[in-house]
Symmetry: C2
Subunit: 243 residues, 2 copies
């Protein structure tokens, strides 16, 4: 078996660290899992045993790899991981999307994927430069949600737009003209909710691309954390409306 390298963006594989991400991976994309890594010194609980037997059924071999688990998780309480092959997704043209424009923080991005999946938005466009979708920390912050969704990467917003020209665009901006509750009530489906970078937000010209939405908040803060903003935006668009 080839030696498992420290994760790097250029590798063709990555690591799903921890029980929950492993389970989601096996539920959603069993074909991409290649090796089950276990910390054999850890107490064997039901979770680990279940994972082992599922992998055995799928023909995925398991191996003792405590050192790799510690190296990739940077923690001492990660007892299982799956090595998986990276993949490329295409978005569903009929479904609503969330577009993440140049988000740089892997933790934010994982948290966002988890919230979007929870609210039923399963198609995510990532506009580069952005955090690496397959970075183990992002996959872990998503609790494996990344595997249960379609996530596609684009080098520019125009490239995404050319592929999906008919979605009603709702760029979320501090200077947006329409409050979220109002935008959601009149929201046209399928829609694309567009969110910008942690520090910079969206470039001003995005206001002209669709109906610019603001989540009203007091001037006591500069802005909301982007994962919180996406969570609120997707919640209100999916649940705060009557249809």
């Amino acid at each position: 078996l080839p030696k498992l390298e420290a994760y790097d963006k250029s590798l063709p594989y990555s690591y799903a660290l921890g029980m929950y991400p492993c389970q989601t991976l096996l539920d959603s994309r069993p074909g991409i899992a290649s090796r089950l890594l276990l910390d054999e010194t850890a107490a064997r609980g039901e979770g680990i045993d279940g994972l082992r037997s599922r992998c055995a059924e799928l023909g995925i071999r398991h191996e003792a790899a405590a050192r790799v688990l510690r190296r990739e998780s940077k923690k001492h309480n990660c007892y299982a991981a799956l090595v998986f092959d990276k993949y490329v997704d295409t978005l569903c043209a009929e479904a609503s999307h969330v577009v993440l424009h140049q988000l740089s923080d892997a933790g934010n991005m994982g948290t966002i994927l988890r919230a979007c999946l929870g609210f039923g938005v399963k198609d995510i466009a990532i506009i580069r430069p952005a955090a690496d979708l397959f970075e183990p920390h992002l996959i872990r912050a998503s609790m494996g949600a990344a595997f249960a969704m379609r996530v596609a990467m684009y080098d520019a917003f125009e490239e995404y737009r050319a592929a999906y020209p008919n979605h009603a665009l709702y760029p979320f901006m501090l200077e947006g003209a329409t409050p979220l509750s109002e935008a959601a009530l009149s929201g046209v489906k399928p829609y694309a909710l567009v969110f910008g970078n942690e520090g910079r937000g969206l470039p001003p010209d995005f206001a002209r691309l669709g109906q610019a939405v603001v989540i009203p908040h007091s001037g006591a803060i500069d802005s909301l954390n982007v994962a919180v903003a996406v969570g609120i935006g997707v919640y209100v668009f999916t649940q705060g409306r009557s249809d």
Copy 2:
């Protein structure tokens, strides 16, 4: 001047790292700032100069301390910080509260404070064991919001409740009986929105303390990230209602 120690919970002071947290500190609690730390090798921009002159007016001395800035921020792009004395707050009894029960992640807690302040909930109860409010990473994740709010710590939920017995309690729980939108519509003021630990949520008996609220989401995810859940809960309670 005494040597500045590496931050530790037991120290009587902490560090507000970065321009925005420093500004919020000076706006909200100028009396607790004792020393302005600057990276004198950094290009002096308007922000740094403004901070220096404000500190000079307030009688806060500045000093070159690039090494302390790097040590405390663990980054190379932190050019200014204020040393501040820790303080104790009391909550406003007439205002609505957010109660954070045993949250352990400093980043989540900072993100939550920022969102609460943005939506006008300025009184936060923290039930221990919990992340240390004054940890520099928490203050930074809050973008200094912590300084512009009242945050009080309690050793048990009962202690908080004894101090504020009249707030209508809304514990947020996966097994909550009332959907958020419904709970918010009938919400009684002042209210206390109660959120549990990242991994465990709230203990089951919290359901009996008030009207248990659920943020409906699909079974494809285990739970929402707690900062996202608080953001949605506070948004809907403060803005999704007509009064």
